[in-house]
């Protein structure tokens, strides 16, 4: 039983990461009907941005987690957001009216460029890189289950951010503009909303969340690789679909469910660990075949 609970906590932590990344996917898809293939790489860039800043911090600051962690996170966000904005402007915006094949292929190209660019030009990125210990070490043990402080931080941060995002989208003016643009961009334009700007804001929000996830994941696992984005991105997309594309709370739930499923498969299936990544795809296929709107899905607005 304790083993089950232990793995459950592992799953929740994993799921928090997936959820944060998934939010970016779901928002962008909701607004411009594009699966941003390169979103996973934005996640990876967040980690690398944090790492880059850490390497130039003076030693005194490096040891102070309470200072280093937020700074590195901000650095990660800066890098991710910058790349995301450029990506939107240069690669996606010109293709907004093209048949669906074009932006998708472009997204694949962008993803390849980001991954390879990092591998080629970030010093040492051709091998896995060591990521600093920015999360508190140590753990608390409840009834035989060891919960590390790091995991608690990750989950808490993730949940707080998700709530913040949900509030933002529901309450603020920009949030309303985002929802309007998602529902009907032409009418939104007629209502005086600058849809281009709204789209940029969407990308920025998604990238920020992914960057935070990147830094947290890097700190938790202690290693980053240039190809982290690919699998993480696919799994996060699965989480988004599982929860219902366009639905923020669904995203979060989808992330946790996926994380738990994955870890349980490792625990209880023979050779489970080798097949670890497979379950995300199986879930994806099952959801899309049987319940394409996701678990909590709202009917995705059909553009008239």
């Amino acid at each position: 039983m304790t083993q089950f609970l232990q793995q459950l906590t592992n799953g929740v932590v994993l799921g928090a990461t997936y959820g944060l990344i998934a939010l970016g996917y779901t928002m962008v898809y909701g607004i411009i009907q594009l699966i941003n293939f390169a979103h996973g790489d934005i996640f990876m860039l967040g980690a690398f941005g944090g790492l880059a800043l850490y390497d130039v911090l003076p030693h005194s600051m490096q040891d102070q987690i309470i200072i280093a962690l937020p700074l590195c996170t901000l650095a990660g966000i800066a890098l991710s957001v910058a790349v995301a904005v450029v990506m939107e402007r240069v690669a996606y915006r010109p293709l907004r009216n093209a048949p669906r094949l074009a932006p998708l292929i472009t997204a694949i190209g962008v993803s390849a460029m980001i991954e390879e660019g990092t591998r080629l030009w970030y010093p040492g990125a051709k091998a896995p890189l060591d990521f600093p210990q920015l999360l508190p070490s140590g753990a608390v043990t409840l009834g035989g289950v060891r919960i590390s402080y790091a995991s608690i931080v990750v989950v808490v941060v993730a949940v707080v951010l998700m709530i913040a995002l949900q509030t933002f989208v529901l309450r603020s003016r920009t949030g309303r503009a985002m929802r309007a643009t998602a529902q009907d961009p032409d009418t939104a334009k007629l209502m005086g909303i600058n849809t281009d700007r709204v789209i940029v804001v969407t990308f920025v929000l998604g990238a920020s969340l992914a960057a935070v996830a990147g830094v947290l994941q890097g700190a938790r696992l202690g290693t980053v690789r240039f190809d982290d984005g690919f699998i993480a991105g696919l799994k996060a997309f699965t989480a988004a679909v599982l929860g219902g594309i366009g639905n923020i709370t669904g995203c979060v739930a989808g992330g946790f469910i996926l994380g738990i499923v994955e870890v349980m498969a490792v625990q209880y299936l023979p050779h489970g660990s080798g097949y670890k990544d497979l379950w995300a795809f199986v879930v994806l296929i099952l959801v899309l075949v049987f319940k394409p709107n996701g678990l909590f899905g709202e009917e995705v607005a059909v553009r008239a």
Binding site: Q33, P99, L101, T106, G109, A112, M113, L234, V302
Partner: protein, 556 residues
Amino acid sequence: MTSAFFRIYHRYREQILRRTGPRGRVLLIAGMVLCLIASVLPWAVNGVGYTNPLGGNLQSAGIGGPRLYVLLLTLVAGLGLTSLDGRRRSTIAASLGNLVISVYILRGLVHEGGGTGAIGVGVWVALVGSLVLFLGADTLPVTPKNILPSLPAFADIALILVVIGVGLAALVVGLGIEDDKQFVAFALFVVALVFALNWLGVATAFTDAFERYRYIGYAIAAAAAFAFPFTQNGNAQWMAVFARVGVFAAAAIGLNVVVGLAGLLDLGYIAFFGIGGYVSALLSNAVFTTVHVHLPFLLVIPLGAAVAAFFGVLVGAPTLRLRGDYLAIVTLGFGEIFRIVAINWTGLTKGPNGIAGIPDLQLPGGFDFGKPHTLFGQLLPFQSNYYFLDIFLIAAVMVFFARINDSRIGRAWVAIREDELAARAMGINTVALKLLAFGIGATLAGTAGTINVHIGEAIEPNAYQFIFSALLLSAVVLGGMGTVAGPILGAALLYAIPEKLRFVQDYRLFLFGLALILLMRFRPEGLIVSRRRQREFHEGGSGADAMSQPGQVAPV
């Protein structure tokens, strides 16, 4: 920032034009003369202590290497003085070609020769000359692409022969150039020349002639393809590459059916290729295999194709009704599932190590694919055997593709691609037809896959990562979706170029990503254009296809 640059450029252009007026021809002639002089001057300084990496002896006067290219391009630019249509663009292409070649050589000299002191007079003259030539070309009146007068039958056929022959010669020469820098200069020359000739109407004349005398054209192309191994002088290096290119081209044609004809985006396509491969490997009694059965290859091909087809239908049946984007991700998921299973089911597939020591094919008559053979007095390395097999495969697939494209099924696919709802309303069984396309694609991939593993004599799961599906997709898109020859060209370019430009190897995927972005932005219909596709892509926002959401109606 680029728009600012162009604004400045336009302003100065106006000033220059006002001064030279209709006498832009003066610039043109001046530029030509300079370039001609440059092509005989030395391009590198004598006695500078470096080994000349640029080939030809650039240190002395005379025509060699890049100077020959400059000379030829200048001659083409000379056509700017005539009254041919399209001369502006072609002369611009030629002058830009000269410019880029000069810049490239300049850079190479500075880099390898140890500094600006190594640059010979000729390079500067060429630079200036090509700039002047460009400015002169820019003053020419804008005209549409040239249309050559229609030629009598024998001239048409001669044209096809010449173009294909020259193409083959260029390929052989290009592949034979050992030094990377020389090759790049050669490639630049070829590109500039192709652009220039395109605007002079040669390309259109060729395609028209080909359409008119299609079967003769195919025969000539096939002959050229067959002739290729004989040009290699027994050297196996390129035969190995092209044997693989052949297999990938066949797979690309299969993907073309799925993506180009039926409009279904399959990002997991490489898995079918892999399924065919594993079936073939397991039944070949390889040295490191798990299944100790040896079936004759002629039986294995259809078996591999059948297994792949089975999985194609299995995958397609529940998922083909999904929207375009979702279908793409789901197929990607299947591709990854295949790869993960292949890695972990070590009992069957030997896991990450794959199956090695796959024997070469043997035909019942005793013909061993693994041995080199001599034909017409030329020694053909053993990869040529697979290459010839590939040609047969591609020919068969091409015939199949052309027939189905022209049939009711093909037209139904077009209808589905353009507007699925309307197609269904017209009584087309969209589900069955989409499944058919998917299944056909899987079958073709499986067939190609069975041959592929024998060329490399081994198979392993890492060859079937997602990136290779993306590569195949790019080959189809680059070559031209929906066309017959497009995927072959795309596959050839995408697989052969990285092999040739070895120094680019590490940057390969990065450039690949960049190329995809540029391609989708500026020329999404690919190199060989299907008229229909071009209209689809450039009609602006209303271009509807199966990728868009159901319910979107194409405006009248």
